[in-house]
């Protein structure tokens, strides 16, 4: 093996192992279970939702928004998205507690209302160093669940104003097509003094978003 080549670090399944439970679509009513108010259900005392950072959170407050678009160019109005990101220092904080100013995990959804946009209120994550010492550009991990999606689609959101870090990011560079790398770069918008990034996720066809297996 060429010395600069990374060895794959996941393991193949053997017959000695249990098989993973098979995935199924989250279906059209995913919100009943994972986004109660979207379904019209009363919220419980604590819900996991899209306000990942409050005003006391350390780091640059940002809003992240977008749509999900199908292979016909139509809006997907029933998706559920999950986000997982590092804090402003590039550390993943695993403890989820709504009393802390920042949580690395959040959920959002697209609905038939308004522009069918999902949105997250968060902070801009710091760069994360991989086990081999290479630095990954700041990013948010996104998983997309919806009717018609049999197993969640995993992607990453990167930031337009991190061009230098993006060019060096080993994960973006693992995408063979430079054109396709652009599908993961969120565009920066300034709105009423707030910083907003927009990433539309295209499930299929022209400009199709890159989805990962890991």
């Amino acid at each position: 093996m060429h010395k600069h080549m990374q060895q794959p670090n996941s393991l193949s399944c053997s017959e000695l192992m249990l098989r993973e439970t098979a995935s199924q679509t989250a279906g059209p009513y995913v919100h009943i279970g994972l986004a109660l108010h979207v379904a019209g259900l009363p919220a419980r005392d604590e819900e996991i939702w899209n306000r990942m950072a409050g005003p006391e959170a350390e780091g640059e407050p940002i809003e992240v928004v977008g749509t999900v678009i199908d292979g016909n160019g139509d809006l997907v109005r029933d998706a559920l998205l999950e986000a997982w990101q590092a804090d402003s220092q590039g550390r993943y904080r695993t403890e989820f507690d709504l009393e802390q100013p920042f949580n690395g995990f959040g959920r959002t959804a697209t609905t038939a209302e308004g522009g069918s946009e999902w949105s997250l209120t968060t902070i801009k994550p710091g760069a994360v160093t991989r086990g081999d010492g290479k630095v990954m550009a700041p990013h948010i991990n996104l998983a997309i669940f919806a009717r018609g999606i049999n197993i969640q689609l995993q992607t990453r959101l990167y930031f337009e104003d991190e061009a230098e870090a993006n060019v060096a990011c080993p994960v973006l560079n693992a995408i063979e097509s430079p054109t396709r790398r652009q599908t993961l770069i969120a565009k920066r918008e300034a709105v009423d003094g707030k910083v907003r990034y927009r990433l539309d996720i295209r499930l299929q066809g022209e400009g199709e978003t890159v989805f990962f297996d890991f």
Binding site: Q6, P8, N9, S10, L11, S12, C13, L18, R19, E20, T21, A22, S23, Q24, T25, A26, G27, P28, Y29, I32, G33, A39, G40, L41, R44, D45, E46, I48, D70, G71, V76, W84, Y92, T94, E95, F96, D97, L98, R130, G131, D132, M136, A143, G148, I149, N150, I151, L153, Q154, A174, L203, Q204, G205, E208, T209, V210, F211, F212, D213, F214
Partner: protein
């Protein structure tokens, strides 16, 4: 703990349903045409995930017989009373403790309490259809609910979902995140369902079937179904940089 030392068993995407499964019509326009990009070097970004032990849950969050009471006429929901329980383990058989298990379902008549569901079977004023809990230190979870009914949906001309409960499990990392559906042992709708049939391997379908467990049922009260969940196997790797 340095999470870069962890590895998960590769997901077998021939075992899981493919993205494009035209018998399930919605998948046709919602499936990528490009190949997935494999991350050969997984990082802390994929090897970590949220720990929900500090999420404050209500006393009835896992009891669907009690967690949606009609204020005007409080009562019990109509339908077959069941306990749904099981264990979350990984592919090496190791229990997954303190992980979030969430579920949602239709009522006994196959109607969802969702503003988009317009099926003519009525809502049940005492049934919401959502539950959540954490697995205990040995990986066990438990819900109490009513058995959901089958329902028709717009796919083929006369397509019906088998009775099912949507089950969502986080596991230790976003790499293990899984949403599936539990079907009920013996349901003749299972083999003719286009969503079930997105899966090619009949043994994979078996992993989604809850089994009647009389030993956990309560006499004169409720039956019990056992549904174990298997998430991707986790282990430490050694000799990584040799």
């Amino acid at each position: 703990m340095h999470d870069d030392n962890k590895r998960y068993v590769e997901r077998d995407r021939n075992w899981h349903p493919p993205a494009y499964a035209p018998g399930y019509k919605t998948s046709v326009a919602r499936s990528p045409r490009q190949a997935l990009v494999s991350l050969h070097q997984s990082s802390v970004s994929e090897l970590t995930g949220p720990d929900f032990r500090q999420l404050r849950m209500g006393p009835y969050d896992n009891d669907l017989l009690m967690n949606f009471r009609d204020a005007a006429t409080p009562g019990l929901p109509v339908g077959e009373r069941i306990i749904l329980f099981g264990r979350v383990v990984d592919q090496f058989g190791k229990p997954v403790p303190h992980t979030l298990v969430e579920m949602w379902q239709a009522n006994a008549g196959g109607r969802y309490r969702h503003k988009k569901d317009a099926y003519l079977a009525p809502l049940d004023p005492n049934f919401g259809g959502v539950g959540r809990c954490l697995t205990d230190e040995d990986g066990w979870y438990r819900f109490r609910t009513i058995k959901p009914g089958p329902y028709p949906w717009l796919n083929g001309i006369n397509t019906w979902r088998p009775a099912h409960i949507h089950v969502s499990v986080m596991g230790p990392a976003i790499s293990t995140r899984l949403i599936t559906q539990m079907y009920f042992e013996g349901d003749p709708l299972i083999p003719i369902c286009p969503i079930v049939k997105t899966i090619n391997d009949p043994e994979a379908v078996e992993t989604m079937i809850g089994r009647l467990d009389m030993s956990r049922s309560k006499p004169m009260d409720c039956l019990a179904y056992r549904f174990d969940l298997v998430v991707r196997g986790e282990l430490q790797t050694y000799f990584e940089n040799q």
